[in-house]
């Protein structure tokens, strides 16, 4: 078992250097450590105390909570800015026709953004890997569903996913192993909604969730605190921090508040070091054999561009000029209404059922797929806000709050973007962070594929509204971000138009790995984290093989 070595000046040396401590970096660190390699994780942000974050959330005004300020409760390092919206800090400069639809909420903390995810653990469909071949749009992956399937299983095991083991309730049903835990039980609202819509082809099924339905690797059973976003108060939901702490317990080292800004390459364009700045502005160097950059879909391409050097003048891993291009997210919108029958949403975790009927079909040659999540979030704040506008008082007011809370429905709809090189992240010429490093700018246009998908989904939603005899039926018209950031280091088989291969290894650098959402060439309509985790574990096996080859070469 080799260990990380620190010099007296703070420089470090390890077998594997990982930049970023979210779910992707943590899973790789954990596996590398299990295999006996020394592992250093370098994280720009702070360590988070769960209890303090819960208290911070409770202490936020209703406006922040009801408005979804999932960023504001997490303390930020002043040297590792992440987006804030209450008020906006404009860390990411947005432009283009749908710039305002790309307001991503990601955390720069030890453990990463799964601190405030909802734990949905979907797989891509087999056809999602062959968009160009099957539908003539987007790109094909250089790997197939079958190639990734064993890693989906492994990721589900590592993250403790509870899902339906009835194939009729799976999407997709092509699985080689059952879910580690059986599905999170549905509440009344999930059951009733499915009963109403499922005869009409909408296929409401259980969401596979990284949430414990029995004690799991130190995590307690879910207690239905109904606060998955922005933080699970009891840690029953998987967070990247669980894997970070597992890796640390085995000897992996994590440096927090350490901002990587520079990457060295040798004459073969192998990575020889990464450099980070500490909170005093002092620079340190980490040298290793294999390097992983897993800072999230915006920060990874930003770092690669920031780290341009003499041999890589357009940025690290960027001979194709694709780093920062093809930015994607599941642009979304909401449909709200009041039902005649009581729904009682808000019992249990924040999301448990989803309509996947529109997830795939021949129409994808023409317009975006969609999925409709039945949000199971306590509707009381919105109900109270509305009821207070109606001129009611006393028991009448309380009855109206109750009526709206019990009968309210909020569907969260996701649309599927296509990779477009013009949707591009670049470095700002004018805005710098506190270390003086350029902030990211992003130009974004969802394109007609998504716009037509919005129209098709809206028609389906109106049908659903009729099935429920909906009152106050509304479909939002502006698209919101969903924090599923993809595409900025796109994977492909041709090094001239892609950044990584099917193992997320950079085409340009033999010992650099860029796993995560940035590598994904198609978005599907489902939350990205499980696919990111599966890609991380696929990379981990490839890194392991590379380390073995290194070792054999050294002894030969």
């Amino acid at each position: 078992m080799s260990e990380v070595k620190f010099a007296s000046n703070g420089d470090a040396q390890a077998d594997v250097i990982i930049v970023g401590s979210g779910v992707v970096g943590a899973l790789i660190a954990n596996q590398m450590r299990d295999e006996g390699h020394s592992v250093l994780i370098i994280e720009a942000g702070l360590r988070i105390n769960r209890a303090q974050a819960v208290e911070n959330w409770r202490n936020m005004p209703l406006r922040n909570r009801a408005g979804g300020d999932f960023q504001g409760l997490y303390p930020q390092s002043e040297y590792a800015t992440a987006p804030l919206y209450f008020p906006a800090n404009d860390y990411v400069g947005l432009s283009g026709p749908n710039g305002s639809s790309f307001k991503q909420g990601y955390l720069r903390t030890v453990g990463g953004t799964t601190w405030h995810w909802a734990a949905s653990c979907w797989r891509h469909l087999p056809e999602d890997f062959r968009m160009k071949s099957l539908y003539g749009v987007g790109r094909d992956w250089p790997i197939s569903y079958e190639d990734l399937e064993p890693y989906y299983c492994k990721a589900e095991e590592q993250m403790g996913v509870a899902g339906p083991n009835d194939p009729e309730m799976q999407s997709p049903s092509q699985r080689s192993r059952p879910y580690p835990m059986d599905m999170v039980p549905w509440g009344h609202g999930d059951r009733y909604f499915a009963e109403v819509v499922n005869d009409h082809g909408f296929k409401s099924i259980p969401i596979p969730q990284a949430r414990s339905t029995r004690p799991w690797n130190g995590r307690p059973e879910c207690c239905g605190n109904n606060n998955c976003q922005p933080i699970c108060p009891i840690g029953a939901m998987y967070n990247g921090i669980h894997t970070v702490e597992a890796a640390e317990s085995k000897g992996a080292k994590v440096l927090a508040e350490s901002v990587v800004y520079k990457i060295d390459t040798d004459s073969n364009n192998r990575i020889t070091a990464v450099h980070w700045l500490d909170t005093d502005g002092a620079s340190h160097k980490a040298t290793g054999r294999q390097y992983v950059i897993a800072c999230n879909g915006i920060e990874t391409p930003r770092l690669l561009l920031l780290a341009a050097n003499e041999r890589n003048p357009r940025g690290i891993a960027n001979s194709s000029d694709q780093v920062g291009r093809n930015m994607m997210d599941h642009s979304g919108f909401h449909c709200t209404f009041l039902t005649k029958e009581p729904m009682w949403l808000g019992r249990g975790p924040a999301q448990s059922s989803c309509l996947v009927g529109p997830r795939s079909g021949e129409f994808r040659s023409d317009y975006s797929a969609s999925k409709f999540i039945l949000n199971n979030i306590n509707e009381v704040p919105g109900a109270a806000t509305k009821a207070l506008q109606l001129g009611l008082a006393g028991r009448e007011l309380e009855a109206e709050i109750r009526r709206r809370a019990i009968h309210g429905v909020d569907l969260s709809i996701s649309l599927e973007p296509l990779p477009d090189p013009n949707n591009r992240l670049t470095l700002s010429d004018t805005r710098k962070d506190k270390h003086g490093l350029a902030c990211p700018d992003i130009h974004y246009d969802v394109g007609d594929y998504v716009r037509k998908g919005y129209d098709a989904a809206s028609e389906q939603l109106r049908q659903i509204g009729q099935l429920f005899n909906a009152e106050e039926f509304n479909i939002t018209t502006s698209l919101n971000a969903n924090n599923h950031i993809m595409g900025g280091c796109i994977m492909g088989s041709d090094p001239s138009d892609s950044v990584t291969d099917g193992d997320c290894r950079a085409h340009d650098h033999d010992n650099l790995w860029l796993p995560g959402g940035a590598a994904m060439p198609s978005a599907s309509v489902v939350n990205t984290t499980l696919s990111m985790a599966a890609l991380a574990l696929k990379s981990a096996d490839a890194i392991s093989q590379a380390l073995s080859r290194d070792a054999q070469g050294a002894t030969a």
Binding site: E221, R347, I401
Partner: protein, 185 residues
């Protein structure tokens, strides 16, 4: 409507329960009643008279006799700090209050007197636990925001675990029933 929604004395005494939960949180409630100093809180704390009149008005508007005086005091301070004109408005509102008046009657009387915004601000503060709007918003109460009480027989206040693991799969109570422990009467 009960007479204690309006008192001439104007001094609401803080109960031990509201003192302990308000100051120290519900977990402390389990242990602190055994501590000698906790008892002193009930006799040492009295609401200032203006805040007490605010509590009278609030009790009438919510038709609840169990409003927490500590929350009342903090709410009153926040409302009048954010908009000093509310000091006089709340006094006027209190002057409209008569014995036996329902929330609806007070709401209507206030509306006729040009005090509707003041009433809605007070209602909003109690039901949402937040005073003010925009970036001036101030959180006064989280779990004690009255909106959550309207569904407390079927939903937890988010972040809390009241019913144990995997509690939610049963059939919820009929929607027409107000919470069984709803103390308003």
């Amino acid at each position: 409507m009960k007479d204690k929604h309006k008192t001439d004395v104007g001094q609401w005494m803080l109960t031990r329960r509201s003192a302990v939960t308000g100051l120290l949180g519900s977990m402390a409630l389990l242990t602190l009643p055994r501590m000698g100093w906790a008892k002193n809180l009930q006799s040492d704390y009295t609401l200032p008279s203006k805040a007490s009149r605010f509590l009278n008005v609030s009790a009438a508007l919510t038709e609840r006799s169990d409003l927490d005086p500590l929350i009342a005091n903090r709410t009153y301070k926040a409302i009048t700090e954010l908009d000093p004109s509310q000091t006089a408005a709340i006094e006027k509102l209190h002057a409209l209050l008569t014995d036996g008046m329902s929330a609806r009657e007070l709401f209507n009387a206030a509306t006729d007197a040009g005090l509707k915004d003041t009433v809605v601000n007070i209602q909003t503060a109690w039901y949402t636990g937040t005073v003010g709007s925009g970036e001036d918003s101030r959180l006064i109460a989280y779990k004690d925001a009255l909106m959550y009480r309207t569904v407390e027989d079927g939903l937890v206040v988010p972040t809390y675990c009241d019913f144990g693991p995997l509690w939610w799969s049963g059939t919820p109570v009929p929607p027409s029933r107000l919470p069984a422990n709803n103390s308003a009467s």
